[in-house]
Amino acid sequence: MHCSPTSAAALLPLGALLLAGSLNVCAQTVQDTPAGEETKTLKPVTISGTRDRNSQTYQSGVVSVGKTQAAAKDIPQSLTVVTEKLIHDEGKDTLKGALQNVPGITFEAGEGGRIGDNIRLRGFTVAGDIYLDGMRDIAQYNRDTFNLQNIEVLRGSASMLFGRGSTGGVVNQVSKQAHKGTASEINTTVGTGNYLRLDGDFNVATSEDSALRFDLMSTDWDGRADKAGTHRRGLAADYGIGLGTTDEWHFSVYHLDYNDKPDLGGRWLQGAPAPLPTDKWYGVDSDYQRDSADIATASYTHYFDDGSSLKTKVRDGQYRRDLWATQLNAFANTVTQDNLNGNTTVNRGNQTRAGEEHHTFLQSDYLTRGEWFNLKQELLLGAEYALERSTRYTYSNVPAKPATTVAAASNAAVADTRIKNWANTFKATTLGLYVQDTVSLTDFWKVVAGLRWDQFGGDYDRLTGGTLSRTDSVWSKRLGLMYQPTETVSYYASYGTSFNTSGDLYQYDANTANTPPESSRNIEVGIKWELADGDLSVRTALARTDKYNERNTDINQSTGEYLLSGQRHTDSLEFEVQGKLTERWEIFAGLVFMNGVIDQAGSSAASQATVGLNPGLTPAKQANLWTTYRLDDKWRVGGGITAVSENHPASSSAASLANTAPGYVKADALVEYQINPRNALKLNIDNVGDTVYYSSLYQGWPSLAPGRSVRLTWTANL
């Protein structure tokens, strides 16, 4: 070369040489419009959870029910998320109340056998499929909403993700978690029936990436006839360390206790609810239901440099329950729907049980993304270990409850002469290992395939009958295919299986201990749309949930009665819409058509008589609508309806299945006034028309739902 190259460091681009030092930046003292005024074309997915409730919606774009954070439309199964905003707007203070927004859910009235939240989904029990932050929360208690962020309801068999159970689906409660920054909210509600609820939610930053969130709740209500009420207290705290960093820790504790007077409701009479006055309660003042839950959870998530994450959670939960309630016994044979009057004798009996549960869980999920075999894939590897211990007690020497009359409704207390006896102890261990892969075949086609192996072992020790033991090893499968030709639509078809072992909900007897697990499967096709630039989610699904080789012990009876023996299925067609119709108009609505049928039953004549019948708690039609409209900056109005067609209690007898609770439509209303950005007043009127309806049914009786209530809430943001 005839000339040596100039040193690279000295060379500059021509443009830079030309303009060196000439950068003209506008003056630094800016009072400019913020960068929010760009032209709008599409909207982002909104994740609810911000304290600025006005910016929240009824839509939750991201859900955690599939073990990983995922967009709702990427889950090939029916899914409903009840958001904190909806729970708040409707003034729902119990899990059961909040779940009335979910079509396909029905409630079984509790007796003494299994108490607490008794939920059915597509007609199948989910008593064993209630989750709290992805871990089983199956103890028998009534859950409050004070520490809930979202409630996720995934329909259809999902043992691949959750292990045993989940025939009709799962209900996952998502707790409020510590987040960065400081924000607090206090809700004070007063209402009819001396309702008083205080709920304080505080998030305090303790450093740049750590925070403590605590939530306190106190609720009192006099209930029906100002007698059957509730007194609940709750405390929850979550301390988060390393928030938003590669090593995130959460330590949380939860405590809930309550002292209620249970309202077990009325009685079936000639195939329908007895026409008892709604303002009378037939319990006695010594009745009670005292339950408590104490849960401690630690979780640790590590995010690897390659984008993978490993999340490990450990939980210890202790639960206590003690119930002494009054149930209505059958009326005299001469009493009919027509001649029941104020002088009719009301016979009363006892439900009294107690128990303790102690659950320990360890769960670990590893999630990684990558491109293998030239295909984009998302791989989930997980393991779960569970140790569940349960002790039950019975009471002997229970004093009889004196009869009363329809009009007199004596509530005089009964002296407690009961003697508490140990009845049985159950210990179950679960070991589950699972793998799931989500493969993007092309830009439009995705496949989800998963496999889980569970070993479930149970030991049962009984006061009478000695010990029983059983171990099962079961495989569960999940397969889904999604076609997403655009960002706004997802067509899917999916197949999932589930199983229920005999010891599932701690009910072994000599027969069930010898019975292999039941099997179920769910086949579903559906469409999920994201309309109005993503502000509105609409979905529809057609599903068949099939439980074959069914054992199905009635979990509400300790005598081990078999409800069904054989096979049953539910076909359902669902429609749901959630989100914003316009900037001011929000909606959360659903409609389901269900057809539940008993396909096969035991060989006895009584069992055969149930074939072809609806298995109960599977109403043919259910609809719910909740909508709000913002009139201006200050005022917002809203309301909704819940409609359920006629319904029957779940039962093993054709006679009991013939008991019919009439269909109903009940309406609720909301008016909200925003005093200033930090304070709001909200008036809820529940059951505006004071409609008489039965929201939970048991083969022994239908349970009357509360009448009209008015509640005023002051929300203060600190």
């Binding site: 021509l14 003056a27 800016v30 920054g181 590669t246 993503g534």
Partner: protein, 227 residues
Amino acid sequence: MLLRIHQALTADELHQIRHLLLSADWVDGRVTAGTQSAAVKNNRQLPEDCANAQQARHLVSVALARNPQFVTGALPKTVYPPLFNRYGGESNAFGDHIDNAVRTHAATAKHVRTDISCTLFLSDPDSYDGGELVVQDTYGEQRVKFDAGDLVMYPGTSVHRVEPVTRGERIASFFWIESMVRQDAQRRLLYDMDMAILDLRRKGGDTAEVVKLTGCYHNLLRMWADT
């Protein structure tokens, strides 16, 4: 043209800016946004008049002025003072949009035509998931998530969005440039030519051909530039 500028900030500047930003009080982007933009906007921003923002803005401006690649790529006439935003937690995304064509500086009433949009990444990409800047470039969709201290420039005419941040936080500075050369295609030609000439000079020094090409560059710039 979508252009990446590696290490527009030094490690020290990055550290200083991050400290200034993290110790400031941020507000929800919607607090000050209008009704329509509130619907699309879901992030947090730094109040522009706060002292920390002004110091951070100054550091960014100084760094840009001394960066040859930035200057040659943008051929800047006026740079709008850098702004800062923060995505994470519940405020984590910004849907598809096109930036306003002209931004008026409130204090000086000076108009800036937004020929070029810039994002200066201030968070380590490993510290957050999601948060990609997705730009519909003339050559299709580009997903951008660069190292802290790196800058991306792209035509203001592009539809772009910020994907939801699902973990961690994405802090960035963003601003606009009115270029002396209004058309993106012309800027691209000039930039490519400039870089080619630079390579030729590195390899062979200032040959006669290089001088001739340099002349072409300047004459093109003379033809297109609006000073």
